[in-house]
């Protein structure tokens, strides 16, 4: 079945997304970008260009490059908005015979919806190329404040582009869908959408099966680009102050500044300080001039504070018009790249006293929501076979009480994992398998699910027997643990029901406990490992002594024996540092013996020693 796509047809940028493997995914265009500029042009040689290519030639061809046509779609020529935007847009706009708007591109007059259709057609073709299949159906989003005529025009644009438009969806509704907020009942959601050039506020009410728009507001001429301009103005003013040169008169410098200003703004969303560094920005009679400033996050916030404050004023006004108070709002959703700015997030959080939904990419959340709506229409959700996951890690207790995890938490079941273990002592003939569940690194902090003993292991030095422990969880969450001695084939197993059937509270409690004890557990774990290391080293020392008794010089023997005694003394009662120190001492003494034995071997070995060396 061909896929239904979701399209965010934006004022400056557009995106297309599709459901894949149960999740919404934004598709890249032919140029490899996830966003396509909503720009169309007729080039000087009569070719129609769409997207980034149209934008690249805009400056040489401003009269024939149509951008921000969303401001005009479905409107009447006499609308106040059209009259205002007409003054700001460089292309020709006239009244159509039916009272609508027409724009001139090349020698022809086009309806705005025809321009949008060209953008949609490019999105369609690029997506088809990417997916390797035909696309015929789409959901297209529009601002919540779009009236019937604007919606109809958007739908027609989709149809001209070759889509069957299954639905025209509100952008804020799409954003809410992307966050799964449609499942809540009787909730009020505010969507704060601060895009590149427009700022939209929408208040939504979710009731049974419907999402209703309760109010809209905003400013169609306020956006992230205003922030970039502020940063640029600041740099120009600073440079004028320091160097007495007006960079705004230097087109080449301006070009470099523009990109740098945006980059600085973006960086300050994650960093507290950024460097604006443009060597050789310009030159005059006295030689080249370099630009180097530090801009802090606080400074940036000072520069754009007025815009943030203004956006909050607009939010309050919209709430008031909808007869809603900030306390009535259950969820806040942030949309648009500019909402990555921490000061903006904080301001919104303060107003509603609520953590906003911001985990999804704010540039893509609308397209993703549209794709999710498409998935719902297509019944993708119904076909999915629901598979459970293990809520907590499953493991066994190993030497020193360590929890060795075999199946990590959040692993999809059914699943199986196995690992080979060995004995901790010489001539050990049985092993105990203690199955535990939880995130603590030490077995004792976790939930014990059961234990059993595998007997009849053939006597052997420690570390030699191979016991394979297998965990198998079936689709019903029943866990079988089997231990098998690889030498004798003897095995023993246990069946544990309901290993995934913990109550939500229990899972939460175990997770929280793991978090709470993280530090102390880590230390304990490290201590045990140090002790285990000490054990191994002691074992090695004793074995070396036994095997090589005659070859070791007496003084060295004495030294090692002392160190062994010292380690034994602190191993079980001393601090971790003391054990570590003793381990270090002993291992150095052993190394001395090692190199002594090696030298002896070399003296005897003759030619082959060269080879040995290169291997070591």
């Amino acid at each position: 079945m061909p896929k239904i796509v979701g399209i965010d047809l934006g004022t400056t940028l557009s995106e297309i997304a599709v459901m894949e493997g149960g999740a919404a995914k934004v598709l890249e265009n032919r140029e490899g970008a996830r966003t396509t500029p909503s720009v169309v042009a007729v080039s000087k040689n009569g070719e129609i260009l769409v997207g980034i290519q149209a934008r690249r030639q805009q400056i040489t061809n401003p009269q024939n490059t149509i951008f921000q046509v969303k401001r005009l779609i479905g409107r009447r020529y006499t609308d106040a908005e059209v009259q205002r935007d007409k003054k700001l847009l460089p292309y020709e706009i006239k009244e159509a015979e039916d009272g609508g708007v027409e724009v001139k591109m090349g020698e022809k007059w086009y309806k705005p919806l025809e321009i949008s259709a060209m953008v949609l057609r490019k999105l369609k073709q690029d997506a088809e190329e990417k997916l390797g299949e035909k696309i015929t159906e789409a959901i297209i989003t529009v601002p919540a404040y779009f009236d019937d005529s604007q919606r109809k025009a958007t739908k027609s644009a989709g149809e001209i582009a070759g889509f069957e438009v299954k639905r025209v969806l509100n952008e804020p509704t799409a954003a809410a869908l992307a966050y799964g907020l449609d499942k809540q009942k009787n909730e009020r959601i505010i969507v704060y959408d601060f895009g590149g050039g427009t700022f939209d506020i929408s208040i939504l009410e979710v009731s049974k099966d419907t999402i209703e728009v309760k109010g809209t507001g905003g400013d169609t001429h306020l956006g992230g680009e205003d922030f970039d301009q502020k940063v640029m103005d600041w740099i120009i003013a600073e440079f004028q102050k320091d160097q007495g040169i007006d960079l705004s008169k230097d087109p080449l410098a301006l070009q470099r500044l523009k990109e740098t200003a945006e980059k600085a703004k973006v960086e300050l969303s994650t960093a507290l300080e950024t460097e604006i560094n443009l060597p050789f920005i310009t030159s005059d009679a006295s030689g080249p001039r370099h630009l180097l400033y530090k801009l802090t996050r606080a400074q940036l916030e000072g520069l754009v504070r007025e815009y943030i404050d203004r956006s909050l004023e607009l939010v309050k006004q919209t709430l008031k018009e909808a007869n809603v108070t900030p306390q009535d709002i259950n969820e806040v959703v942030l949309v648009g790249g500019q909402t990555r700015m921490p000061a903006m997030q904080e301001a919104v959080k303060q107003l509603f006293n609520k953590e906003p939904n911001k985990s999804l990419n704010p540039d893509e959340v609308v397209a993703m929501g549209a794709a999710i709506q498409a998935g719902i229409l297509q019944g993708d959700v119904r076909d999915v076979l629901l598979l459970d996951v293990t809520p907590l890690s499953l493991g066994i207790e190993t030497l020193g009480g360590v929890n060795t995890v075999l199946i990590q938490k959040n692993t999809t079941i059914p699943t199986a994992k196995s690992q080979v273990f060995s004995t901790a002592a010489d001539n050990q003939t049985s092993v105990e398998v203690h199955v535990v569940q939880g995130e603590r690194p030490m077995a004792e902090g976790n939930k014990s699910l059961g234990r059993f003993v595998l007997e009849g292991i053939a006597p052997a030095p420690r570390g030699v027997p191979q016991v394979e422990v297998s965990f198998d969880i079936d689709a019903n969450g029943i866990l079988s643990v089997t231990a098998k001695d690889k030498a004798t084939g003897k095995s023993q197993s246990i069946r544990i029901e309901g290993s995934t059937g913990l109550s939500k509270e229990e899972v939460e409690r175990l997770k929280k406990e793991a978090e709470l004890h993280e530090e102390e557990d880590k230390k304990k774990h490290e201590f045990i490992e140090t002790r285990n290391n000490a054990d191994t080293l002691l074992y090695t020392a004793e074995k070396t002594f036994k095997d090589m008794a005659e070859k070791i010089p007496a003084d060295m023997k004495k030294e090692v024996e002392d160190k062994v005694e010292a380690l034994k003394k602190v191993k079980d009662s001393g601090t971790m540092e003391a054990v570590k120190e003793a381990v270090e001492q002993l291992s150095q003494a052993l190394q001395k013996i090692g190199s002594q034995l090696y030298q002896q071997g070399e003296q005897k070995g003759g030619e082959s020693s060269e080879q040995d060396k290169s291997q070591g």
Partner: protein, 160 residues
């Protein structure tokens, strides 16, 4: 009587067998589908990872280009007599190191000057007077290809 019951049983078993067969087929199909899905997913994932590596390399190289731009601005701006200075020469030689490095990574400079303006590879940042209309007169910032694909368009001035 017993016969009657037997045939009833037979009917019942037959029906049950039918159902079980149907169920078995369904499960087998589901299992095969799941295996196939998984294998296909692995293949797609490998492709995706390959693409991702290429993409992240392109992203890294793209971030490196402004360094070379700056060196080239300097090359343009420093007066010829100053370029005789050994210290200046040394610094400008860093540009060659960068160019060599980029070349070794598969980055290739785009020819733009005196070419016909083409928005697939060029981004217009201004217009100038001149004779051949629609021709690139000046490259303000060089464009680059990465293994034949556009990495960054050239910023150019075009003849009006």
């Amino acid at each position: 009587m017993s016969r009657f019951y037997n045939s009833m049983d037979e009917e019942k078993f037959k029906k049950e067998l039918e159902e079980l067969k149907k169920e078995k087929d369904e499960y087998l199909a589901g299992w095969q589908r799941a295996r196939a899905d998984f294998i296909n997913y692995k293949k797609e994932e490998m492709e995706r990872i390959g693409g991702l590596i290429e993409y992240s390399q392109a992203g890294f190289l793209l971030k490196l280009l402004p360094l070379l731009d700056t060196v080239e601005y300097a090359e343009r701006i420093i007066p010829p007599d100053m370029k005789e200075d050994k210290n200046v020469q040394g610094f400008l030689q860093i540009g060659n190191q960068l160019r060599e490095f980029l070349k070794s990574q598969g980055v290739q400079e785009l020819k733009a000057e005196q070419e016909k303006f083409n928005p697939e590879f060029h981004e217009a940042v201004g217009e100038v007077e001149g004779e051949k209309q629609g021709t690139v007169e000046e490259v303000v910032e060089k464009g680059y290809l990465l293994r034949g694909k556009l990495l960054r368009p050239a910023k150019v001035k075009v003849i009006k």
